[in-house]
């Protein structure tokens, strides 16, 4: 109990931020040798590259429409065919990956940061716990998509509003995870000793406890990324997603919903791309969990 904070750090549980170089290398090699994780990472990187590089190298315009090129089936010229505006679906899917990934990433960042803050404060300060978690419980009492629809409808159309809606919908989840980790660590020995050494609450919380409770959060954020991509598509499908003609994946599928029999490619091709991306994210998250979560 009389050890200094510096010593306390060295006896912290083995997590990423407190490991020496050899341990880090061991984890890295574990990560690299994990088959699912490698596949997942490859898929995700391909989508990310397509999203970043695609718009730069592609000739087509995702908004270019013409009633002469409507409903063309997939061909060498139009890989995924064209939609009812005569727009090239492949071009739209590539541009859409940009948008959908950006939305997913923004949701992860906002829900992650917000959830971490709320969860950390709630987990550390017992007085705040009751209020903060009641609000989180109230948000959790709505099915997440229902909540997102409500918020998106309230705020109106717009990419930023979709991000806000999904972030609010997923924030309680991250808050709970962080709160749970913080609560276990709050009474850990190294925290106690830091407290005795006179370290301030905020410093203890953000310098000592939080870095040690990141692993489950990081894993969960991968899944939130995946859910956000799916939910964004669902919101677009219900008409409260990013405003058209923005080529978000959900918009592309929503545009094709009335033509599934005559022009199934409008729906099927982007659906497969969404499925693949989410699959990649899930594989990646599974891999992270396998490697980082000490329980398995």
């Amino acid at each position: 109990m009389t050890r200094s904070a510096a010593i306390a750090d060295s006896v912290a549980p083995a997590t990423v931020d407190h490991m020496g170089a050899p341990a880090r290398r061991r984890i890295l090699s574990k990560l690299l040798s994990h088959k699912g994780l490698t596949i997942g990472a490859t898929i995700v990187s391909l989508v990310v590259i397509a999203a970043l590089v695609g718009p730069l190298v592609m000739q087509g315009d995702p908004m270019k429409l013409s009633f002469r090129t409507r409903f063309l089936p997939p061909s060498a010229e139009h890989w995924f065919g064209t939609d009812h505006y005569g727009r090239d679906i492949f071009t739209r899917v590539i541009y859409g990956s940009h948008l959908s990934l950006a939305i997913g990433l923004a949701v992860v960042l906002i829900a992650g940061t917000g959830g971490t803050l709320i969860g950390a404060l709630a987990g550390y300060f017992k007085r705040l716990d009751a209020i903060l978690m009641r609000v989180m419980d109230a948000l959790m009492a709505f099915p997440s998509l229902m909540l997102a629809i409500g918020i998106a409808a309230a705020l109106g159309s717009g990419i930023a509003n979709v991000v806000i809606a999904l972030s609010v919908a997923y924030m309680p989840r991250t808050a709970r995870i962080v709160r749970a980790s913080v609560m276990t660590l709050r009474s850990a020995e190294f925290v106690e000793s830091a407290r005795v050494a006179g370290v301030g609450h905020m410093r203890i919380l953000f310098r000592h406890i939080l870095p040690n409770s990141m692993a489950p959060l990081i894993i969960d954020l991968t899944f939130i990324f995946a859910y956000a991509v799916l939910a964004d598509a669902a919101l677009s499908f219900l008409g409260v997603g990013p405003p058209p003609p923005a080529p978000s994946w959900g918009n592309i599928i929503a545009d094709g919903r009335d033509y599934i029999v005559e022009a199934p490619w409008i729906t099927i091709c982007p659906g497969i791309v969404i499925g693949l991306t989410v699959l990649g994210l899930n594989l990646f998250g599974d891999g992270l969990r396998d490697v980082l979560d000490p329980r398995l």
Binding site: M63, K64, L65, S66, F67, R70, F71, H84, Y85, G86, A153, G156, S157, G239, V240, P243, P244, P245, R257, D258, Y259, I260, V261, E262, A263
Partner: protein, 523 residues
């Protein structure tokens, strides 16, 4: 006293009825004997917002309620006024006193016979609860000298009053007097129509049943618009909501539905190849329009508005938004309307001329100010028109942003001139009913272009409203259309047709404003 009698109405409706029967005779079904019985389920894309006829006003509501409801005056195939529950209407020369003589022995669905008291109380309730109660704002008093006479006295002369009360949008339905004390939205459609209301689950299913004691209007030869001689043959009717078009089509193929509203063109082409189904093109569904906000920059500048008018290619917009099922028409009324402007060719329309648009923009000193197009994603064709014209404006060098909301959200924002420049929307009943329904869209303090004063326009409306002959009305309406067009206050996009489909065994179906399940039967 100007007698607006049954005979005169018959004279006009006879020609229309003949026109309506033409395709029937051509397809050789005229000989088929109507056969009573059977049930039909109609798949619609949306649910009605209410079953209280006085409280309703949407197209979907009309689709359902016009089977149960009847009014003193209704509309014929072309949208002109026609007597329904009244057999005679006498209008005083000062256009202040309207005397309706009601048809006798017309029973309500509850068995009671309709009297003038019911008519009076219904109109009173309408004036209390209807969103369209303004139609009765000019009523001074109503009296019932006897059980079949209703006298309506107006506060001021109003030659076009019949044009207001004929509308089936929020129909001035006659319901039993004892129902008339109920609050808005509390009344079921108990009226005198050929079908009686059974139940509605509020979301997906509404049931009706043939009204055995229905009294058809013997003054007419056959079905005509919402009026004429109506006769129900089907025993039971159901209105089902299937919001996905693919779901409606699959439902028809599987036998779940018998009649489909709003069939996508592609699916219609496929269904047409199947002998089990028949496809109809409904030509009087709605028109796509774009009201232009003349208050907010940059569309406060007439030159910018003219540039927009020059840049828009209505044909491309309609080809995409209406799936090819459309008619180009610069006017705000349908081409067969009695009010169609004789000089419609003077209306600027379907230019698709980016070069001219650019020249106009340069003249206007346009420097890339953002043009916001407001629309609703709930109705795909509105959004599609917005998307297409956005691209057309962009290629003429304009900076455009789309603001897409759900329907109520878009309409709330439509009310606020600071939020948008263009609004992609549709008018459903107005082009069928004619000029008078446009009054508050085109003129007055709450006009949809947000102009503050436009004397030429207001004068033209005065001329229209005080006109007592068809000729004067037509000429006034033409002035209004030209003014809207050259000031670019509202841009007409096109007449949008829709496909409807039925099982082949359904006979004598003719598309109209709403689906009509009377005068059709299974062969």
């Amino acid at each position: 006293m100007a007698e607006w009698t049954r005979r005169r109405l018959l004279a006009t409706s006879a020609t229309v009825a003949a026109a309506a029967t033409l395709p029937r005779a051509a397809s050789g079904q005229a000989a088929a004997q109507p056969k009573p019985g059977g049930r039909a389920t109609v798949a619609m894309s949306a649910a009605t917002e209410t079953v209280d006829p006085h409280f309703s006003r949407s197209q979907v509501a009309r689709n359902v309620l016009m089977h149960m409801c009847e009014t003193l005056v209704t509309i014929d195939e072309r949208g002109s006024a026609q007597l329904q529950l009244a057999e005679e209407l006498a209008i005083s020369p000062d256009f202040k006193t309207f005397t309706f003589r009601l048809r006798k022995d017309v029973p309500f669905h509850n068995g009671k016979k309709m009297t003038s008291e019911d008519a009076k109380r219904s109109l009173e309730r309408y004036a209390r609860v209807s969103p369209e109660k303004a139609r009765l704002a000019n009523v001074d008093r109503m009296t019932t000298p006897d059980a079949s006479t209703l006298v309506v006295e107006l506060k001021s002369s109003m030659p076009s009053w019949i044009e207001l009360i004929k509308s089936p949008a929020s129909p001035m339905t006659i319901i039993p007097a004892e129902e008339c004390d109920k609050d808005a939205n509390q009344v079921r459609p108990i009226s005198t129509g050929p079908f009686s209301f059974v139940d509605w689950d509020g979301v997906t299913q509404l049931h009706g049943r043939r009204f055995a004691d229905y009294a058809p209007n013997k003054a007419y030869a056959g079905r005509d618009g919402y009026g004429g001689r109506r006769q129900a043959y089907l025993d039971e009717i159901t209105f089902a909501v299937a919001s996905e078009a693919s779901g409606r089509v699959a439902g028809l193929q599987s036998g779940q539905f018998d009649i489909l509203d709003e069939v996508p063109v592609q699916a219609a082409a496929r269904l047409a190849k199947d002998e089990r189904f028949k496809i109809y093109e409904q030509t009087k569904r709605s028109i796509n329009v774009v009201p232009v906000n003349v208050q907010r920059a940059p569309t406060d500048n007439l030159l910018v508005r003219q540039a927009i008018q020059a840049a828009i290619g209505q044909e491309e917009a309609m080809a995409i938004a209406a799936e090819g099922a459309f008619a180009l028409n610069p006017s705000f009324v349908y081409k067969d309307s009695e009010f169609y402007p004789a000089e419609a060719n003077r209306l600027i329309y379907n230019q698709n001329d980016p070069a001219r648009a650019k020249a106009l923009l340069a003249e206007a000193g346009y420097r890339g100010e953002e043009i916001v197009i407001l629309t609703s994603g709930d109705i795909p064709s509105l959004q599609e028109v917005a998307v297409v014209i956005a691209e057309q404006l962009k290629s003429a060098g304009m900076k455009v942003r789309l603001d897409v909301l759900d329907w109520p959200g878009a309409n709330a924002r439509r009310n606020d001139p600071t939020t948008h420049n263009l609004f992609s929307t549709a008018y459903a009943i107005q082009p069928l009913l004619g000029p008078f329904q446009y009054q508050r869209l085109f003129s007055g303090p709450s006009n949809w272009s947000f102009y503050k004063d436009d004397k030429a326009m207001e004068d033209a409306w005065q001329k229209l409203l005080s006109a007592t002959s068809k000729e004067d009305q037509r000429s006034a309406w033409q002035d209004i259309e030209l003014r809207v067009n050259n000031q670019v206050q509202q841009i007409k996009i096109g007449d949008r047709n829709l496909n409807q489909a039925t099982k082949s065994s359904i006979t004598n179906f003719v598309p109209y404003d709403g689906i009509r399940l009377w005068d059709i039967w299974y062969s």
